[in-house]
Each structure stands twice: as C-alpha cells, then as structure tokens.
Subunit: 815 residues, 2 copies
Amino acid sequence: MIYMPIAMAILGLIYMVIKKSWVMKQDAGDGKMKEISDHIYEGALAFLNAEYRLLAVFVVIVSVALAAVSFIVPTTHWLIVVAFIFGAFFSAFAGNIGMKIATKTNVRTTQAAKTSLPNALKVSFGGGTVMGLGVAGLAVLGLTVFFIIFYNYFMGGATGTFSVDKMTIVLETLAGFSLGAESIALFARVGGGIYTKAADVGADLVGKVEAGIPEDDPRNPATIADNVGDNVGDVAGMGADLFGSYVATVLAAMVLGNYVIKDMGGMIDDAFGGIGPILLPMSIAGVGIIISVIGTMLVKIKSNDAKEAQVMGALNIGNWVSIALVAVSCFGLVTWMLPETMQMNFFGEGLQEISSMRVFYATLVGLVVGAGISSVTEYYTGLGKKPILKIVQQSSTGAGTNIIAGLATGMISTFPSVLLFAGAIWASYAFAGFYGVALAASAMMATTAMQLAIDAFGPISDNAGGIAEMSEQEPIVRERTDILDSVGNTTAATGKGFAIASAALTSLALFAAYVTFTGIDGINIFKAPVLAMLFVGGMVPVVFSALAMNAVGKAAMEMVQEVRRQFREIPGIMEGTGKPEYDKCVAISTEASLREMMLPGLLTIGFPLVIAFVPMIFGMNNMAIAEMLGGYMAGVTVSGVLWAIFQNNAGGAWDNAKKSFEAGVLINGEMTYKGSEAHKAAVTGDTVGDPFKDTSGPSMNILIKLTCLIGLVIAPILGGHAVTDGVALSETTVSANMIKKVYVQFEVESDNIAKAVVSTTILENDKTEVDERVISGTFAEVKAKVDELKKGATSIKVKSNRAELEEEFSVEIIK
Amino acid sequence: MIYMPIAMAILGLIYMVIKKSWVMKQDAGDGKMKEISDHIYEGALAFLNAEYRLLAVFVVIVSVALAAVSFIVPTTHWLIVVAFIFGAFFSAFAGNIGMKIATKTNVRTTQAAKTSLPNALKVSFGGGTVMGLGVAGLAVLGLTVFFIIFYNYFMGGATGTFSVDKMTIVLETLAGFSLGAESIALFARVGGGIYTKAADVGADLVGKVEAGIPEDDPRNPATIADNVGDNVGDVAGMGADLFGSYVATVLAAMVLGNYVIKDMGGMIDDAFGGIGPILLPMSIAGVGIIISVIGTMLVKIKSNDAKEAQVMGALNIGNWVSIALVAVSCFGLVTWMLPETMQMNFFGEGLQEISSMRVFYATLVGLVVGAGISSVTEYYTGLGKKPILKIVQQSSTGAGTNIIAGLATGMISTFPSVLLFAGAIWASYAFAGFYGVALAASAMMATTAMQLAIDAFGPISDNAGGIAEMSEQEPIVRERTDILDSVGNTTAATGKGFAIASAALTSLALFAAYVTFTGIDGINIFKAPVLAMLFVGGMVPVVFSALAMNAVGKAAMEMVQEVRRQFREIPGIMEGTGKPEYDKCVAISTEASLREMMLPGLLTIGFPLVIAFVPMIFGMNNMAIAEMLGGYMAGVTVSGVLWAIFQNNAGGAWDNAKKSFEAGVLINGEMTYKGSEAHKAAVTGDTVGDPFKDTSGPSMNILIKLTCLIGLVIAPILGGHAVTDGVALSETTVSANMIKKVYVQFEVESDNIAKAVVSTTILENDKTEVDERVISGTFAEVKAKVDELKKGATSIKVKSNRAELEEEFSVEIIK
C-alpha cells in the first residue's frame, strides 16, 4: 500500500509525458509567430536561469545552516539537509516543466485558434494539464519516495517495530522536503509576482500612455517581458505555490496521523503495518492524481461558436466531477485504511472515541470550503455581479471614489470568506480533531492537478492572444483566444481563492503539527509575551505587502527608463523598421524582481528565527519560546489570510470593473465605454489593483506557509532541550508547604533511545500547578534525570515498559 | 485618600468654568462673523439633539437588556443599569460642553486674530483647555463617585471588611459606567466621523469641482455643515473617544489591582483601608488633571511674528512638562500607596515578588510608548518627512502610483508602531504583570486633558479660518489662523496616534480584566473553536472599516444631490443675493450619519453577544465559551490596532502630500504647484484618505474598546455559571484506572456568600489532567456541591477558613 501513491504519481507523470508530446507535435505556426514565441520562451528561460543561480546560493546557505543545526542539536538528523535539497530541486523541476510547456503551448494555441475554438481549447488546456500533472506528480512522488527511504532508514520499514517517537523523527526529517519546496515557492511566487507587474506596468506606462501604441504591440520593447511575466507569475508562481501547499498539507496530515496512533496507545493493528492514519493522506493525494487525469479528459467543447459560458461550463464539468470523485474515494480510503474507531486527544477535553466516518466528514468539510471560497471569490470579482457594478457606478465620480469602492469590496469580501473558513476549522476539528483539519486540507488539495490545469490555461490563452496580435493574425483568431482569455481571468480569480484557502488550511495543519512537535500544552495568549508576538505576527503580512508593492514600483520605474531609452536611441523603432532590444527589458525585470524580493524574503525567514533564537541566547525557557513562536505563527496566519483575501479580491474587482467598460456599462442611465472619464478612473483603480492581486496578495500564501514550516523545522530544537528543563525542575527544593507529586512514564526503546514523560503536580501556598515535560536521550541519561527527580518529590510513581524500572513511594505531608 | 481624585476632578472643573467664562467674555466680532458662527453653533446643536434622541432610545434598550440580565443572572447586580445610564450621561454631557465651547470659541479666535497671533492662540487654546478639562474632570468625577457609592453599598466602605470577591462585584457593577461612556463614544466617533466626511466630500464635490467656488465660500449650502462636521468629528468624537478610554483604563487597572490584593492573600495592610492598589489608578488620574492644568498654563507665545515652529514649540513645552510631571507624580504615588513588595501571580510562572519600584517602571513604559507612537505617527505623516516626499514624487506618474505609495506608507508604518506596542506589552508585563500593563495605560492617559486641549484647538482654529474667509476679513487674519490650523493638523495626527495607543493599551487591560473576571485559565488558541474566533475577530475591523467607508460614500451622495438642488432651485444663490438653506444640509448630514452608523454599530455589539449566547443556548460549557470570546476579543484587538494605524497614517500621509503642493514641491528637478497634474493625483489620494483618517481609522479605537468592554460585562455571566460545571464534574464515575484527587479551598463569608475553589487532578490512562473551577453561591449550596464531589474522588483535601469544614481522606489505587 505504501507504494500505491508512487504508482499513481508515476502513472500521472506518464500521462503528462504523453500529453506533452501530443502538445509539442501540434503545429507551431509560421515564421513571425514562431519568432515571437521563441522570444517569450527565451525570456522565460533567462528568468529561470537567473532564478536558479540565486536559488543555488540560497539552497547552499540554508543547507549549511541546517547541517550545522543538525550536528549541534541531537534531536535533529542531518538527512533533513538531503530532504531539503531534493524538495527544492523537485519544486524547481516542476516549475521548469510548467514554464517550458506553457511557453511552447501558447503559440500552438494561436495556431489552433486559426482552425477552431474547440481545438484552441484542447491545445491550451492540454498545456495546462501537463503543468498540473507535473506539479502534482512530482510532489507526490518526491514526498512518498523520501518517506519510504526515511521509514526504512530510521525504523526498518514494515519489518521493523513501529514507534511513535521514531516516526516523529522520520516526519521531522521529511519536513526538510517541504521546507525546500516552499523556499522555491518564495522565489517563484514573490519574485515572479514582482516580475510580472513590473513588466506589465512598465510596458503600459510608456507604451500605452506615452507612446500611444496598443497593448502587445511588437514595437514596445517591454512587450516580450510582459508576456514572459504572465508565465513567470501566473504559471510558475502558482505552480510552485500549490506544489508547496500540496507537500506541506500531506506532511502535516501525516504528522497528525502519527499522533492519532500515539493517542491510541502507540500502536494500532491494521493491514498497513500499523501506519494507516499516516499513509491515508498520501493515498488520497495519489488517488487525486488519477482523478485529476479523468477530470481533465472531460474538459472539451464541440461547437465552434461556443461563448465564454460554454467554455466555463466545460471546465466546471471537469472540476465538479473530480471533486465528486475525490469525495467518493475519500469515503473508500477512509473506511478501508483507518480503524473503525479511533481515540483522539482533544485539547482540554481528553481522549474521545472517533469513528472513521467522522474523518470522512472532515474531508467533506475541506471539499465544501474549497468550493465555497472559490464561489465567494467569483461573486466579489465576477463581471456583472453586484460588487463590480457598484465599483463601475462609483467610477463616474472619479478615481477617488472608484478606489474607495474597490478597497471596500475587498474588505467586505473577508466577511463570508472568514466565516466559511472559521466554520471549516470548527467543523473539521469537531469531527476529527486536528487530524480532521489536516485531512480536510488534504481532500481539498487532492484535485491540485486539475486546479492547476484550469489555472494555467488562462495565461497560456492570454499569451496566445498576445502572439496573435503581435504576429498580426486575422481578427477571428484573437476573438477565439479572447474567449479563452476571458474565461481564464475568472478561473484565475477562483484559483487564487483556492490557493489562499489551501494555504490557510495547510498553515493550520502545520500549526497543529508544530504544537505536537514541540510538546507544549497549547498557546496561551493570556501570557503577555505570547500576546506581544501575536501582535508582531499580525503586523508582518501588512509590512510584507507594502514591501512587495514598493518593489513593483521600483522595478517598474527601471523598466520605464529602459523603454524610454530604447524609444529615444534606437532609430526607426516606432516605424517598425528598427528592432527593439527585448532581451534588455527581460533582463531588467529579471534582475529587479530577484533583487527586490530579498527584503520581504528576509522578513519572512528572519522573524521566526529571531523570535526563536534571540531569547534562547538570553537563556529563556524553551517551552516559553515555543509558545511565543506559536503566537507569532498564529498572528501571521490570521492577518495573512485577511490581507490575502482583501488584496486578491480588491485587485480582481478593480480589474473586472475596468474590463466592464469594454462591452459598455450603464451609468446614470447612459451607456459608457472605453475612453470615457469613468473608464479612466477605472484604469487608475486597476493600476492600484495590479500589485494587489498579482504580487502582494498571492505572496501572503507563501508567507503564512513558510512561517509555519520554519516553525515546524525549529520545533524539534525547541522541544529537544527539554532535558535541561527536567534538571532545572529537580533543583527546586521542597518547602514545608509544598507537595510535589511526580508521575513518570518511562519508555525504553534501546540503550540509545529512551524517553520519559514527567508530570509533576505541585501544591504550594494552596495553589496547584501541573507541569508536564518530556525528557529524551540515551537510556542512561534519562534514568539519571528521573533519579534526580526523586530527590525533590514527596511522592513518585514510575510506570515503564521495563518492569524493573517501575516504582512508587510517597512521603505524606499533612498540614 | 479615596476622596482625593474627586477633589482634583472638582478643582479641574472649577478651573474649566473659570476658563470658560474668560473665553465667553472675549469679543465675538461683528455682525457677519456672529451670524456665521451662530449657524455653526446651531448646526452643531441640531446634530447633538438628533444624536441625543437616538441615544435615549439606545440607552433605554440597553438598560432594559442589562436589567433583565441582572435579574436572571445572580452574579450581576441591577445597579449596573444605573452606572450605565450615568456613564452615558456623563460622556454626553462632556461632549456637549466641548461642542458648545468649541463653536463659541471659533469666532472669538477669528476676532482675536485681528489683533495678534498670541491672542488668537490664547483664545483657541483656551477653548481646547475647557474641552480637555471638561472631559477629564467629568470622567474622574463620575468614576470615583460611583466607585465610592458602590464601595459603601456592597462593602460598607472603609468601615466594612475588605473582601476580594465583594470588590469584584463593586468593579463588575462599575463596568456599567464604562460601558455607558463607550456607547456614547460609538455614536460620537463613528457617527461624527461619517458626518464630517459626508459634509466635507459633499461640499467639495459640488462646490469646488462643479461650481468652481473656493472652500468655505458662504454661497455653498454645505459649507456650514462642513464646519459643523469639524466640531462633530474632531472635537466631540475625539472627546468621547478619550473619555471612554480614560474611564475604561482606570477601571481595568482597578480590577487588576483587586487581583493583586487577591494574590497577596486576599488582604493587605496599608494606610488606604487595604485597597491601595485599587485606589492608585484613580489617584494617578486625579493628579493628572492638576498636572494638565499646569501644562495648559505653559502654552503661550509672545511674538506676533511667530511661525508654525514657535506655536508647535509652545504646545510641546506644555505637553512634555506635563508628561514629566506625571512621571514624577507616579513615582510619588506608587511608592506611597503600594506595599513595598507585592506578590503577583504570573500566568504559568506562579507567584512572584514584585517591588513597588517595578510598578513605577511600568508607568514609565506607558509614558514612553505614548510619546513613541506619537513620534512615529508624526514621522509617517509629517510635512517634509521622507515618506511624504516619496508620495509627492509618486504623484508625478498619476493617481494610481500616488495611491499605491500612500497605502504602502500606511502599511509600513505599522512596523515601528507594532514593535513599540509589543515591546510595551512585554516590558510592562515583565515589570508588574497585567497590573503593570494597566498602569502603563493609566499613566499614559493621565495627561488626557492636556492632549485633548492640544487636539481640540486644531479644529477651532480651522473653523476660525473658515469664519474669516466667509466673513471676508483682511488677509492677515486668515494668515494667522492658517498658522494655527497648520499646527493643528500636525497635532491632529499625533493625537490620533495617542488615541489609538491609549485604545490599544486600554483594550489589553480590559482583556486581562476579562480573563480574571471569567476565571478561565488563559486563552488557548490551540483549541480549534478559539482559533476560529480569533479569525472571526480579525475579520471584524476590516468589515467595519468597509462599512464606515461605504457609509461616507452614501451620505456624501445625498449631500451632493441636496447642494445641486439648491444651486438649481434657489434664485441668485451664485450671485450672493439668494440665501442658501444651510440647515437642510446640516439635517442631511445629521440624519445620514446617524442612520449609516447603525450597521457597523450592530456589528460591534452583536458579534460578541452572538458568540457568548448562541453557544450557551446550545448547551456549550461556559468556560469554553469564555475562552472563545477571549479569542474573538484578541482577534479584534490585534487586527483593529493594525487597521487603525494603517488607515490613520495612510490618510494623514495623503493629506499632507496634497498640502505639500501648496508651498510647491520639487519633482524631477521641477518646482510643481497646486493645479498641476501631480497635484490632481495628490487630491485623488486625499479623497481616498479622508474616510480612512477621519472615519474608519479612528472608529477602530471604539470598536476594540467596546468589544473588550462588552466582554467584560458578559464575563460575570459566563464565570458565574461555574456552579453547574461543578456538578457536571462530580457526575463522572471513577473507573478502575482513574485516580481523581480533589483539592478544595472553601471560603465562607456568611450564610449567603460562600465560595469554593476546586482543583481536581485526574490521572487516567496514564495522563494527567487538572481542572480548576470556582463554585459560588450560598453556604448551603456550596457545601452540597463539595459533598457531592467526595463521591467521585479517590482522595480529597479541604482547607477552609472554618476549621470544622476541613477534612482529608484518600483511597489508594495502586496498579
């Protein structure tokens, strides 16, 4: 069974290769088209190469840091470095496949659009499918392969004996893979977001506004950079984002599955080597790939006269069928792989009996919320919907009122989104604890391949339209690609909804995994330092967004100056006789975007490290630090989700309010079109919305996931120092009015691995305090600590898996 | 000593009356000036009257609800209704004084400006002083009087015996006063914020843009409404806001002082009837009034040729001296009134010895942070500072880039503000626990009267300028009022910083008081329902802001239509022969603002009630509800503080970026002035910023304080039901592997008042859980519950202040 997800992933990748070769076999058009397409392809490659160089440096630095930590801290293993490097590599590789196929598919879509709309959809969606399956297939393959390797290495695989603690080490090490993947996402999503908007704004400001030439005009030196940007931001960025979410969600669900086993007494007897709850999330992901393949096959239209509604309908059929199939397969997998009833520890409520059906209900919650948040997004950003019409009306009184209306729309859209989301947390937790929350996320992410296919086809069609324009095709070609592009805009908005919903649920699952890894008993915001960190965490997404927006501004200004220079210095450029230096613009976007993402990136990675390690240097208690870091993570997540929804939806709403003018809108009883004052106001709104929806908004996903992942990777370091705490505890002397009862659960794996869970109850000045901590280390070490504890205790009781260690004594202190 | 704050408050009020009669004696100018001033006065009165009618209805509804609750729930007392009504009345009365004096002072300032600048400052600042002392004096007077009444009623005052529990009832009842005050603030700040911007935008859109007449032109029918708005929003709104903060801060500090006494064994021996820690915050507030009087006396300039810098310098001297005096008096009061060392319970760390000097350090933290946040605000919104210059530069590329730059400035300004704020929480807590946090807030608020005087003088000078313009005075008059107005703009920005800092610290203190009132052992966001509520809480400020912004839009549109109608229908209005119907515009602003504040108001009040009572109906555990509500409060506070800083500073920055063009700015090496394209872009930014800084931003203060206050008022209802929980606990049977140890602290006050703190330790399946709860009721009731507990326990130990109740038994269960 453990190999099932691998098989599914490989099947998915095989289908991807077949689909890819089919796409590549399509006609790539004539000379001019090919030439433009090649420019875009080369520009994209240039960005990728520059990104890879930077990535390589980054990966080396982080690897060295991780290796150093793993040698200093005994609870972490050096294999995490290997996992990290491969996580980064797999994610980069998936992005590479996606970018290449996207830039190869665009021109083929233009060519296909010459024949018919159904063909154009087939080609563009084919390209999207390759991208989607590449990401999902590599994610599942990489994660599963590394899990099996670590499972065999640390635990002897299915032939070894199962131990919750050893599995914890396996999963802690596997977290490196997820960290690697998410780091790439940081570069791809944030860097890509800056790239795409810098190129877009730069191209528009000089081209459209100053030189008065239309969009996608080949005379504009920035036009290739603009088209590359669509691929860099929307294709590669989104792909890396979802790759990261996918891996992190499955990992977090595995961690929580391990704790379900722990709650059930450290061992279950099932047909899956006793690790059914851990394998379940991987299996759902594996089956999800096959379901996505089926879903993509359903996306087709027949009529050449189809409009947006039919194309949207075709995509919807594929999407809904795959969601339904995931629900069905979740039912099958859950009932098959999980024990009929489980015990789960609910915080503050103790152990509860949970039937496997309740886990299934939790997965349904995930599917419903994923669909719900997409619908909310569509309502607030969809053409013809009330919020957009209101922004259009407000455009008539100028840019100021347009901006206010757009901001207000984005802000109000947080209401249903957050209520849905809070409901999802509550319901999935009520059904099956944090394992339920993580599986809700896993079920939602199961259709990632399908989601990405739907998502990636938009920018491909957008590019195809651009190529049609630049290579001066018949109008019918552009009309057909425009239909696809328009549908692509809607799917882009709902895709952003899906991405933030998945990021949020993923972060929550990671958050839960963090708490269990560190062994803290919750995150209490009534402790002032924790509350202070909640504030700091809440602030970070706001500042991150501002930095990302400023980065776009700076990078766009550089682009503007380069375009102005070319218009000035290259003779005949406006007449079409001089050739613009496209590559210079591509280089500027590339360099500027990678440079400008440094500061927000540093903020993301630096803050959790500072919070964890600075107080440690000052000798603060590790458990207190872990709780503070948890408060920070919660602050980032809550604020990040809010700002993501706000920025994405405001940006999307402004965009479509502007687009509404293309078909004409009724304002105060008058039809108003492009070029009117109201339209100009709407264009201003869109300028503000661009970095919102394509740079800072989507970056929030990465910010919250990466924050929680860094926390998870730090967790064993914080939790592992508990040995020292145990000593500190035993040093306190027993005063006359202090009753100290120690209860020890002492488990010995081998001479080298032993663990004691120590619960100390202190009654002092008529107050009760209970302290629970974990001592781990070699058998001799742990034994020594436990012996020390006896000195300070008025009563002690030791239970152990070794009878000779068990003991009990008490000194009664009666007032 | 208990009467000292009353004496100080009365002294302050006497000085206020003297100052008021001095101001009223000043020359009110000639016919035209008087006429305009009267219009403004009547407009302001019209708003107040309409507001009072609505208020009366609101107060009746809330009073009935509170009365009903106090009869149903035994732990609340009906006197809370009386306190509530008086709280509302005092706040409204203070607002009334402020509005009247402000509208009377403006024309006198114009008249004084005819003679000299020092005179103009003297008159306008005199008006501000009246306002400031009115608010602070009434706040301290009301709170202290009610405290003394309740102290005598419930506890027999200084002649009775002190009991922490009875004091808790006194303070719970006193919370009604604070709730009343904050409710008025909701109307004044939110309604006033909508009023002022609706009038402003309405007047500008038709007057300046459509009719092409200058600002404050008497031909514009909305001009009086605009001037009234300055008073309604900036004077009355700010006054009610700070009145609410002042009362709530002192109350919260008193609640936490009571818990200090509890931590010290329920009794301390000092020269203040054993309630020194409770009296201290009131005493600081009382002394603060006298200090503010001294501070206001220092504000004067001598030279008639003084510029902004000298005026600002005069205000700064007054401000800094009063802050320094507060520091000195805090030292005196703290060392005098507090025991030299105290025991305080630090959550999760147990009791600690805290010296009174550490409490003094906590007050210093409050003073430093108040000044720090004001400085940060000044940096991000000050003319000539880097952030403003950047926005000015970005205006050259259009409204879009201006908006992005302004948004980014507001967002980045959260960085230093939140770090300062988090540092303040941490430091003041580290010094003296949550009592330290509350006293930090109290120290900061001690100079409220001075702050308000500085704040109120701005709109007075602004109005004075308007009157000078409308009554066509010599240019020198307007020049002088412009200097005052310009300084007033800066103080308005820093005043907003002070207001949000005070609101944030107040909320935190209320939050801490809430946790102690409910008796929950912290707020653990690792519990999913609590985390879900943290998300919901985070969302509310965002939606509230959007509603407030939309409200401004709607109200402004109504104003636009009325002004257009008057221009169309009143003959000779543009030639100055027809008289505009000012009162109609005032009426529209009044009605629209009070109507439009309903929805955000409902959101503020409704959400906490729904979270508290809906789960209660479904039978959820009260402690779990209390924790959820705590999560909600934390979410609102964190998100509210962020959005307040973001919106206030972005709005302030846009405003001053626009103002920069008046003196001319250097853009790309060229001097650019009013009327340029860049200036137009800056005007658009200011349009967006107006509702940000004057409506939605400042409303956040009320939202977070009112949310925490409602929580505090609900707290005893949630905490008081603990009796039921006690029963539920005893019903669980003892299984073979369950060891249940019960430890009871049984305190009997009388036959009618008894309380038992029950700590139950359960060892089950080798897990330890400790449950601590409070049973309260009559002696017989509590005794019965405790007896019941014995049935389920394997060991019990009862300690009591009545020896006959003490007992101990245990049944050893050895594995």
